[in-house]
């Protein structure tokens, strides 16, 4: 049994109290004295040249304080891409400029090109409508294949063929892959679309800029998953404000899923407007604006081929992908389809030869960036779909073909052909666990019951692996990343023994305030209730890189462990002084410092108090205070993995798909709070089912967004989803971080879509519709019905 409040306990979340009583403090809830309100004017055409903008009528409107356009931001820098990718020919990718407000051209519907600040939001919104802009409409570039084919129409002049890079991974593998395909007895080919999604954190983005003309200090309250990264981008690239004059505060944040990693132009704009007016300027995004301006996710078009022998042994794999970047390169857009996608294309399998080709394409659509899973769902979907197709073609059982090709538990550490070294895993174990939990023995009886009702039942399997715990800075630096991806923690033991832990990770639903307190409680032997977790304010926390890529526990948690070790070391020094013993003789156990082999001891609280009341300290050798900071940079990615099973009933009359059972067997390494881990999996699975059955961003040929509200974009609702059975009892602890933790946040979004689609294809095959070998997501009733009925 885990200790109450320690590692392994399903401790209830402390943050729930404020959220359940209306006391949460989200950015939109913050009101500063004297604040004015901003509204952005956004393009209603997908592609156009701005000929003129007349703001005079707007400036004369009631309450209007300022009108700004792209011309007001030509002196500041642009929003950079965080990752420079090299093309196959060795050329560095193109990096088209991304201004704070569109200038010269608008490049997607929703591209902001003016800003009104007024006394009230309504006045600002009214005045936006009085701005007269002459925009010469250009043909919209929407379809990726057309964007690549037509070199006369460009989203950015500096990107001649609309291709940002043409990436081969790994280029040296290419010849061996081609040779393996040429010699292979069987090749399975699948062309598929990984549908574009809108992340839709329930809290819309919001930002408040607050310039203090007395000190020259800027403060930005904003909906961010990583306030230090936002500060760095604004300071170093966009506005040139020194970091020590800019504080970024991300208070309670209502979900992110990737979309709040990035710096957006609105953040810089409200800071600039605040300086101009010497008043705080607040902006809160409408949901309609969010659909038009929050970075979208996925949007790949892929051809994948798997070469096998007649026994289903994988011989080689190759893929060709067009990845949509949208109209501008969002901060991490370029690494998502490359280093978070191509490097995972080996999956949990020992395929000897793998080659991945990705072309990144600019279009007149909302920028695309990392969304929960980021590249790894795309890799897993392609791989798990082509494996099912190969199994059908070869007449091999779906479980067996995977089992035959899994990396064996005794093969770790395992060097894949696409650059990663998996430290540990047991893919057989999670798949066996899934099989046990899925009642496969009872499937035929359930299928017969379905058939009696005129329904087709099917079972879909997917196995998944991801690289998370992002990321080893030395490795990502070699690959073109412009930032480090360590994290940091400061442990401040206060005089009366309570503890403040200041962390670089940011919690926006993950429950860090509870889980991190569990870690410190266990490590330092203090009650969890005496530990407070502080996050989200760059003026308080050390420079850490925030929360995304299932990194918080594996990276920031490890930084906390490192800092706690320093606290213990310092405590031993203090105890040695107080107990008049040699430092080497002091032991620390369960919150108590003692002299080995004696009953002499000092409690943690006594040591803390002494640290701040150092009346007789030997100051040459012992400093007062008990506060330590550690930065932790991981040695490798972590590699959680698992197996997902989806059972569906398809109504062949309507094409409707009902998920009747969904089961997850995951290996997350060591788990700190099982309740929270299960919740993370539930949420990821829900987003995966959303992608598979419901969600999809749709543009028409003019680049108009047709799915711009919850009336048109199908979010999963309570009655769309099943209960989700979750198991994480298979554990192979991560070998290179002190917690043995791997990360769980993205698992559901990665493993789920192929399980659902495989289940539907299985149902159709069993129901006599074996001609249907693939349906692109989302599997709406219309798409399924048309697939069945030709």
């Amino acid at each position: 049994m885990p200790k109450d409040g320690g590692i392994g306990a399903s401790t209830l979340r402390r943050e729930d109290i404020r959220f359940l009583t209306g006391k949460g403090r989200y950015t939109a809830d913050i009101n500063l004295r004297g604040q004015a309100f901003a509204c952005f004017l956004r393009s209603d055409v997908a592609h156009g040249r701005i000929r003129s903008i007349d703001t005079s009528a707007a400036e004369a409107m009631p309450g209007v304080l300022a009108v700004m356009t792209g011309a007001d931001f030509t002196e500041v820098g642009g929003n950079p891409t965080g990752w420079l990718v090299q093309s196959r020919d060795g050329a560095t990718m193109k990096e088209p400029k991304r201004p704070v407000l569109a200038h010269g051209k608008v490049r997607h519907v929703g591209d902001a090109y003016a800003l009104v600040v007024a006394e009230t939001y309504a006045q600002a919104k009214d005045a936006c409508e009085a701005i007269v802009a002459e925009i010469e409409e250009l043909p919209a570039i929407v379809d990726m294949a057309a964007a690549v084919a037509d070199t006369t129409n460009r989203v950015h002049d500096e990107c001649a063929d609309n291709v940002v890079f043409d990436w081969g991974w790994i280029e040296e593998n290419r010849a061996a892959v081609e040779a393996a395909f040429d010699a292979a007895p069987h090749v399975t080919t699948l062309e598929l679309v990984n549908n574009r999604l809108s992340p839709n954190a329930m809290e819309p983005r919001a930002s408040i800029g607050d310039f203090d003309s007395g000190t020259g200090d800027y403060k930005l309250y904003t909906t961010s998953q990583n306030p230090h990264l936002t500060r760095l981008l604004i300071s170093a690239f966009v506005m040139g404000i020194p970091e020590n004059k800019l504080t970024v505060i991300a208070p309670d944040v209502g979900g992110g899923f990737g979309s709040k990693i990035y710096h957006y132009g609105e953040e810089a704009a409200v800071l600039a407007a605040s300086k101009r007016l010497d008043r705080p300027v607040k902006w809160v995004c409408d949901r309609s604006e969010a659909f038009l301006s929050d970075a979208h996710g996925r949007d790949h078009v892929t051809k994948i081929q798997l070469a096998t022998d007649t026994e289903g042994n994988f011989l080689a794999l190759r893929t060709e992908t067009l990845a949509n970047m949208g109209a501008y390169l969002s901060n991490f857009a370029t690494c998502t389809p490359t280093f978070l996608h191509g490097t995972l294309m080996a999956g949990p399998y020992k395929t000897p030869h793998v080659y991945v080709n990705v072309k990144a394409v600019m279009t007149n659509t909302v920028p695309v960036d990392a969304y929960r899973g980021a590249g790894r769902p795309e890799a897993t979907y392609s791989l798990e779909r082509v494996i099912d197709k190969a199994a059908d073609e070869l007449g091999i059982d779906k479980w067996e073909i995977r089992r035959r090709n899994f990396i064996n538990p005794d093969q770790f550490p395992y060097q894949t052909p696409v650059g990663l070294v998996y430290d540990t895993g047991n893919y057989h174990a999670t798949m066996d666990k899934l099989r046990e939990l899925s009642d496969i023995a009872g499937f035929e009886a359930r299928a017969a019951e379905s058939a009696a009702k005129g329904k087709l039942r099917g079972f879909g399997l997917s196995t998944w692996i991801e690289a998370c715990g992002i990321a080893p800075s030395n490795l990502v630096g070699v690959l073109g990343c412009r930032v480090g991806l360590f994290d940091a923690a400061t442990i401040r033991v206060n005089a009366t023994g309570n503890i403040s832990v200041l962390v670089g990770a940011h919690s926006h639903g993950q429950g860090h305030e509870t889980v991190f307190a569990q870690l410190i409680s266990e490590k330092l032997g203090v009650p969890a209730a005496s530990v407070e977790i502080v996050h989200g304010d760059t003026s308080k926390i050390p420079f850490g890189m925030g929360t995304y890529g299932s990194r918080s526990l594996a990276v920031c948690g490890s930084a906390m462990m490192k800092a706690a070790d320093k606290i213990i070391d310092k405590g031993k020094k203090i105890a040695a002084h107080m107990l008049e013993a040699a430092e080497g003789d002091i032991e620390f156990n369960d919150g108590s410092f003692s002299v080995a082999g004696t009953d002499k001891q000092k409690s943690f609280a006594e040591i803390a108090f002494s640290a701040y009341v150092p009346h007789n300290y030997p100051l040459e050798t012992l400093e007062p205070g008990l506060e330590e900071t550690a930065f932790y940079d991981p040695a490798n990615f972590t590699y959680p993995a698992g197996a997902y099973g989806c059972e569906v009933e398809v109504d062949p009359e309507t094409g409707a798909v009902d998920i009747v059972r969904f089961t997850c067997a995951d290996d997350f390494g060591n788990v700190i709070n099982p309740m929270i881990v299960a919740g993370q999996v539930h949420g990821g699975v829900a987003q995966g089912i959303g992608q598979a059955l419901l969600e999809g961003v749709v543009y028409n040929e003019d680049g108009q967004l047709l799915t711009g509200s919850y009336m048109d974009y199908a979010m999963p609702r309570a009655d769309d989803l099943p209960n989700i059975d979750v198991d994480h009892s298979c554990v192979t602890p991560c070998t290179h971080n002190p917690l043995g933790a791997k990360g769980c946040g993205e698992a559901g979004a990665i493993g789920t879509p192929p399980a659902v689609v495989n289940a539907v294809i299985d149902a159709l095959r069993r129901g006599g519709h074996g001609q249907v070998t693939h349906i692109d997501m989302p599997l709406t009733p219309s798409r399924v019905w048309h697939a069945i009925h030709g």
């Binding site: 729930d16 979900g255 919740g679 009655d719």
Partner: protein
């Protein structure tokens, strides 16, 4: 024009324009920021409050139309001693919330369901909550929370 209504048991007033929504009246007029706005098409339900005991999406009601009525928001849901009410406690006990943004609306919608139907089936819970979108939980633990609270009488669900 000045609008007065009973909010969480107290008479409250604020200046409004004709176009002021109940959600804005509560958030900006009265400073009750527990009621959240997650969309602009009456779809997400984060802004759900009770008006005269009925669940209402406050982003779609004009404040002036609620003048003189009785409104309960998430800030009025705890027990008089400040402890969590049964439905709030059930959400914590069952990990029925993550980021907390949809939570006020979920709690208000769930309380309204249980007031009308104290022992709903799971299907009834899922059907009732389809007007409230959560992006974090997959609804699994929200449904569990409502089911676990469903033994309670409506008086215990909230101190209204």
């Amino acid at each position: 024009m000045k609008v007065t209504m009973t909010v969480n048991g107290k008479a409250m007033s604020a200046e409004t324009e004709g176009r002021t929504l109940l959600s804005s009246f509560l958030r900006e007029g009265l400073g009750l920021t527990g009621t959240h706005v997650g969309c602009d098409t009456t779809q997400c339900g984060a802004c759900t409050v009770h008006v005269d005991g009925q669940p209402v999406k406050s982003c779609t009601v004009l404040a002036q139309d609620v003048a003189g009525k009785t409104v309960t928001t998430i800030e009025g849901m705890a027990n008089p001693d400040g402890s969590l009410s049964v439905i709030q406690q059930a959400f914590q006990d069952n990990h029925g919330l993550q980021c907390g943004f949809c939570t006020p609306g979920m709690v208000m919608a769930s309380a309204a369901l249980l007031a009308e139907n104290p022992h709903p089936t799971e299907d009834e819970v899922r059907h009732h909550l389809k007007g409230n979108i959560c992006r974090c939980t997959g609804y699994h633990n929200i449904v569990k929370a409502v089911m676990s609270a469903s033994g309670a009488t409506s008086q215990k669900l909230a101190a209204e």
